[in-house]
């Protein structure tokens, strides 16, 4: 269609020609069809003359789904003895419109041995976790890999008050109940 654009910072829409594979290697936001590089998202073209790469820098928000390795935030929907279902509402810094369901198994919950999932998290808690696998059509999560992972907001299973973190245990300021959690290092401060 239009003449190929050889300048960085040009506004492009899906389907715009960016060049041919003889002159550039296709970077993010582009695709190759019959030897020609096209834009696949709306954004600004970015030509890296050093590495001979052309890419598209998005100007609108891009579609996101959980991928292996992404850090997600979600709410515990259900806890069983060995697993917890977590409805993921945030991927990285991006809040989702809907939710994805992830599964946290007790073997991935903590770097130390845990007897029961109820010592890791309980229904209603807000958890930060990492996606470790997408096998079997489910997002397998882990809270064991990092100190930043784990429960960031926990609620008393007796009265529903937000629990206070007291070194190793969690204490309810309302009813004095003591509970266990696998707590993230920024408990109570994390952004949801």
């Amino acid at each position: 269609m239009s003449k190929p654009k050889r300048k960085s910072g040009v506004f492009v829409t899906p389907g715009d020609r960016l060049g041919v594979i003889e002159e550039f290697s296709p970077g993010p936001g582009t695709y190759v069809r019959q030897g020609t590089i096209y834009a696949k998202i709306t954004g600004r073209s970015l030509i890296d003359l050093l590495n001979k790469e052309v890419s598209v820098y998005p100007v609108i928000r891009t579609a996101v789904v959980p991928r292996t390795g992404s850090i997600v935030i979600g709410q515990v929907a259900q806890t069983q003895n060995q697993t917890a279902n977590i409805s993921i509402t945030k991927i990285g810094k991006r809040a989702l419109n809907g939710e994805f369901t992830g599964v946290l198994h007790i073997s991935d919950a903590s770097p130390v041995y845990q007897e029961s999932m109820f010592d890791v998290c309980k229904t209603g808690d807000i958890v930060r976790a990492k996606v470790v696998s997408e096998a079997n059509r489910t997002f397998h999560l882990s809270t064991a890999l990092d100190r930043m992972l784990g429960v960031i907001y926990a609620f008393c299973s007796n009265c529903g008050h937000m629990l206070q973190w007291r070194r190793t245990k969690m204490r309810c300021p309302n009813c004095g109940r003591i509970e266990n959690r696998k707590v993230a290092s920024d408990y109570g401060k994390g952004e949801i």
Binding site: P14, D16, Y38, T42, I60, L96, G98
Partner: protein, 248 residues
């Protein structure tokens, strides 16, 4: 209006102008806006002549019910719906046979343009609401739905643009209105990806000779190329608006 009274009304006058004053190869005035809905991931609105259509895109998100999810690509779900007040006589809001078919046809016109394989097991939901109908709604819907998908940040091979052409009182015309569609001899909507040069939808209603068919298709494709420019401008306009907000 009784049939006899309508027959008297000429669709093309002596000077070759159509009932709305257009030349045979002239499009209706088109106005497209992108990103009109704040709750949807992507949205667009089109006014093509008297047609007014709104579309919202959600996703990629988890498929519900889960058994519909595809293991290797995203599921594109499309709902074309006409508002009860969109036509002269109230239309039942329940999805009619025609609407279900149009949903399928629009989905299949858009599917080749979207990189569905990037989002396995998810669904991309597209909702098209016709607020006012005046012929050529499927074309306008496809044109705008592809913009809504692009606005949602979903990677696409190209924007899909659609336009109809047909035959009215023996003359080939572009972008039929409702009256021309109903009283004319033939209507032929085409959806097209201009950069890839691929047709994704081709339908015909009525009768055309082989020669006329070829001319009509080319006419519709030319119409598509004109709309494609407007489409790109609409995407750009949203970006410029975003930039202004950021600078303030």
């Amino acid at each position: 209006m009784p049939a006899k009274a309508q027959e008297k009304q000429k669709l093309i006058d002596k000077e070759g102008k159509r009932i709305d004053g257009r030349n045979p190869d002239e499009l209706r005035p088109i106005k497209i806006e992108v990103g009109v809905l704040s709750n949807a991931d992507g949205s667009a609105y089109i006014e093509q002549g008297k047609c007014k259509i709104l579309a919202g895109v959600y996703g990629p998100r988890e498929t519900h019910p889960k058994h519909l999810a595809l293991p290797d690509r995203a599921l594109l779900q499309c709902r074309y719906h006409m508002a009860p007040f969109s036509v002269e006589e109230r239309k039942s809001p329940a999805p009619s046979r025609r609407e279900i078919e149009l949903s399928k046809v629009i989905r299949e016109a858009l599917e080749p343009a979207v990189f569905l394989e990037y989002y396995p097991r998810t669904s991309i939901d597209l909702f098209i609401e016709v607020l006012q109908a005046d012929g050529g709604t499927r074309g306008a819907a496809i044109t705008m739905a592809s913009l809504a998908l692009a606005d949602a940040g979903i990677p696409m091979k190209d924007l899909v643009v659609a336009c109809a052409a047909g035959k009215v009182e023996g003359k080939l015309v572009l972008d039929l209105s409702d009256a021309e569609d109903k009283l004319g001899e033939a209507d032929l909507p085409v959806a097209y990806m201009p950069t890839i040069d691929a047709v994704t939808l081709l339908q015909m209603d009525g009768n055309l000779t082989l020669e006329e068919f070829e001319q009509t298709v080319n006419m519709a494709l030319n119409g598509c190329k004109q709309i494609y420019k407007i489409q790109k401008e609409a995407l750009k306009a949203k970006y410029v608006a975003l930039k202004e907000v950021a600078e303030e």
